[in-house]
Symmetry: C3
Subunit: 430 residues, 3 copies
């Protein structure tokens, strides 16, 4: 019934809309000729005039406040709108820019990353929840150009064009889904799927859209079993999503083959995450012993977590020690290449850009730890280590406390080792 209503509204309004458009067009054929020409050649020109999307407040348009956002498009394109809002694209700003206004589970402190207390205007420096203080300009060009996908259909659809064929090509996804942190475009393009797409057409080699937006669905989370941070979804959701993807695979591949391949990809995810965790453990050990340079205590506090080591998805990339800088590369770049490379069936991304870089960078982090420990004159902490090997009993006690607090040593080991140090203090040994 909603659809019928929309149709009725359109039919009754279109003659008026298009007449009104003529008054805009008179100036805009001089001011923005390409926009007018694109509209004229589009399907919209038959039914949708300028004011239908842009409104009638010309001052607001000039000021940039009369934004044609997803809600405007959603008035007509309701199914696509609802699929979009429910999908990962519908939380684009949350995952990137730290702006959580449209989400229920926001941390109130996050508002202050972008706004002065009580104001809705953005600050001159924008604070990105997951990353760091950014200039407004970097926020706009480097972050928001992609993360605005939450609120802007024009992220993929070119404002005044309506042709569908270009929108079914993988290139449309490339502007955002590329680069060191998630090179889906690059890994697809040189995968067997991508190569067959460019040499033999979409029917033989599937585009991004054919697997991830089947039958034109705008639920881009279709068939994906991980979060964007590559954590597993809950088991029930995972089963549902895996079933969806197998349905797509089946258009070309046998069921057994597809299940085996996807299970292999899952295994690569688990193995790759384990390599990252080994590196994290080395860095936590360095932090326990205050060997990171700069130490967590010396650097600016994390906006959400304060003065503590942050190695999870809220990790920043400023003011890092060398070991953490290398860890950021592992977690944000190498892991994505290994895992997404596997799911996209790209051998070089899975192995060379992914697995080999994970292992090489892990080796580098471990070598860095050994060097820092050597320079500081302290070997790594083990359960049976004599207190005398440390430069001071105080340092040793602090290290034991931190190790215990984050669960790296048991309460028993903590008690034993602490007693041993305190005994030595009492006995007057150094």
């Amino acid at each position: 019934m909603t659809r019928l209503l929309v149709l009725a509204l359109l039919l009754s309004g279109w003659a008026a809309s298009l007449q009104a458009a003529e008054s805009c067009v008179e100036c805009h054929e001089r001011e923005t000729p390409a926009a007018v020409a694109q509209w004229r050649s589009s399907a919209h020109a038959q039914a949708v005039g300028c004011a239908d999307c842009h409104g009638n407040d010309h001052d607001a348009m000039v000021a940039g406040t009369a934004v044609v956002d997803t809600k405007v498009c959603g008035r007509c394109h309701q199914a696509a709108y609802h699929q979009h809002v429910a999908s990962r694209h519908g939380m684009g700003l949350h995952s990137g820019w730290g702006c959580t206004r449209t989400l229920a589970n926001r941390d109130p402190r996050e508002c202050r990353f972008c706004h002065e207390e009580g104001s809705t205007r953005p600050k001159s420096t924008v604070h990105c929840a997951r990353f760091l203080t950014q200039s407004t300009e970097m926020g706009e060009i480097g972050c928001n150009r992609c993360h605005q996908v939450e609120s802007s259909c024009a992220s993929c659809h070119t404002s005044h064009l309506t042709a569908l064929e270009p929108l079914r090509r993988s290139e449309i996804c490339a502007t955002c889904h590329m680069g060191p942190d998630h090179p889906q475009w690059e890994m697809w393009q040189t995968s067997r799927h991508g190569v067959l797409n460019s040499t033999s057409g979409d029917a033989v080699g599937p585009s991004c859209q054919r697997c991830h937006m089947p039958a034109g669905s705008h639920d881009v989370s279709f068939g994906i079993t991980m979060t964007s941070g590559m954590d597993l979804l809950p088991a029930a959701e995972r089963t549902k999503r895996r079933g969806e993807m197998l349905g797509v695979c089946k258009e070309c591949h046998g069921q057994r083959f597809s299940e085996r391949e996807l299970a292999r990809n899952d295994a690569v995810r688990t193995q790759s995450v384990a390599l990252v965790e080994r590196a994290a453990e080395t860095i936590r050990r360095l932090d326990d012993r205050s060997l990171l340079q700069p130490s967590v205590q010396e650097r600016p506090a994390h906006p959400l977590r304060g003065r503590q080591l942050v190695l999870d998805n809220q990790m920043l990339y400023e003011n890092l020690s060398r070991a953490e800088r290398l860890f950021f590369k592992m977690k944000k770049y190498d892991l994505a290449k290994a895992v997404k490379g596997a799911y996209h069936q790209n051998p070089a991304y899975t192995h060379w850009y992914g697995n080999a870089e994970l292992k090489l960078t892990l080796a580098e982090i471990e070598a860095e730890a050994a060097l820092l420990e050597q320079v500081a004159g302290r070997p790594p902490l083990t359960g049976g280590q004599a207190a005398g090997e440390l430069t001071s009993q105080e340092q040793r006690l602090q290290e034991l406390k931190r190790s215990f607090e984050r669960g790296a040593i048991s309460a028993e080991v903590y008690a034993t080792e602490k007693a041993r140090v305190l005994d030595a203090v009492r006995a007057g040994s150094p």
Copy 2:
């Protein structure tokens, strides 16, 4: 006569083959519709039925043991089969996966990388001869997807398609010939050859195939004067291969021009290898003095070479010191970009990704060596150095022995220096 025999067999068999195919197709139009549709539209549909390639043992097909390998295709495509087997593609597994079953010069210990003693089933962790322990999944997706080219025509040919035009486009080679270790696809694509190919067609800008598989030859080693590790082939073989390539160049370029360009590329190879050797020498010096962290003695033994420093083509990429990690990048990535970049006439790969990275990384390795020597309190070893500069006479003797054993100092210098240390010991100096 062989060809006539094949033809006769085909003619007598085709009616039966195609009748039998109908019985497979009945189910498979539901189970794997794309495979059936591709076969129907292919040249094979006129003469080759399902069982001709897949056999009649449906259980084996389901279990994945009825593999359609090169031998199956070779029954009809004999010339291509023999060219393939004799070429570098015919040893794909050996060069990558460490599986040497089809080769004469295998080391018996290599069998154990993949198989338990006496078993032909792969182990749950696969050991790659040239690299390291890999999970089965990484072995399949990251390694074998490309290195299976030895035994699978489907590496390049899409299983049920027979159209030749797509197979003559460079994209077909991209899935394997890309990435940090040999970005031939990337360097061709932006070379003058690649740019002319995409803007003006294959007749003006040659594809991979036009130079490396002329007239449809499946000898992909055609015209190449190096091994895949970039070592020179024996002189006679080199002369033959160079002549082959000059014959291809001549289709567009003058003989003198082509000879001069290829000679320049050869020079870039020699110069680039020399930069890698300088880095290797610095690392050997660090190993002589046990300054690598972790030391070769502390890390797991190399599967073929035991506890020794390995910097050649059998180098692993796990458990490396920082200097070796940087060396791996030089040898495996930067060198390939410089050398292959030159042969493919790509300035940015030759110079920036290749030469500049080789020199920058060499500088980094040398700075690392200086730092490690400073932290350890020991300046580098020279012939005339006083023993007193070392932290101990024992260390000095060990270092001299290692340096002599690998040929870095002469027997004469070794004897003189050793005597000097022993005299100091006798004299009671520290």
Copy 3:
């Protein structure tokens, strides 16, 4: 009138030219068949014979000294020639290869980079003004292949082809405008402009040429407000060039939108340069205290600047300390990606390859400085620091002198600190 003259000359000469061509073609259809076929199919074949461009001295052609350079093409294509010479392309060799023969403002010492005193023949090793000693072969393949654009129209135009359509595609620019130091090709290709170009055509998504060579102009500096080193042009020139570019933007975008976007890009440039400057300051501090390894004094002298730290556009990439090696990456690769990424509207290049790498590498340089200072046992210099914290009074005096000479501390702080050290010396403290 010049054009009429050219036309008259052509008309009177063409019959003779084409007759003469026949005598070349007789041999060259065998020797260089592709060249002859391309010429035959070109517009030149109607009016321009072999000798018109190549001359009549066959020995010189064989020796490679009868070069068809821009001046030869310029005899007919005068407007393009003059635009080219006046543009940045017209100084290609100067900016890259150090060859300044065609420029007024050359430093006479630069001649010696390529030529022995008094000789015009190139040396066997070519010295690149901005970089370093290169082999002739690397100079030819890695450097000159692009920087010859100054003197060779064939850098973009394929020697014997005259079709214009391929020349209007961005691919033509890719061979040189790609790679780590200026990936314009890569960033355009995945920008919205590039994506629309490949999916919807040049009228919707502009090619390189449409913005940078509008209406076929050969002034490739059109609309650009920076030097190739990303320094700002003088204000008046900047205003003129910005106006040019806004005229191009206006074909598709509104004036206000375009101005705002370009202003944002300018801001990214300023902010990114500031990050590089922070790293430079850290390295200068290390150099003041002789903590770089190798020190500037230990390494070969810079060909133009001698034994001093060079971090500007004349920085070399050989014999660097680790901190400088990282700085080279920041300045030459990361900065270019951030700044050119912004102007080309590519989010991943602006942010991830640009901004994030700048910040991560800055962190790495600062961590390196902290480590070197720790190993040397010396904390960083501050105004109020007690002399006793340094390892020696002599070192402290040297450091103060260097810091003052490069303007890092004021004359007043220098005098006070110097007096303090000298007082301590007199008082006999260590």
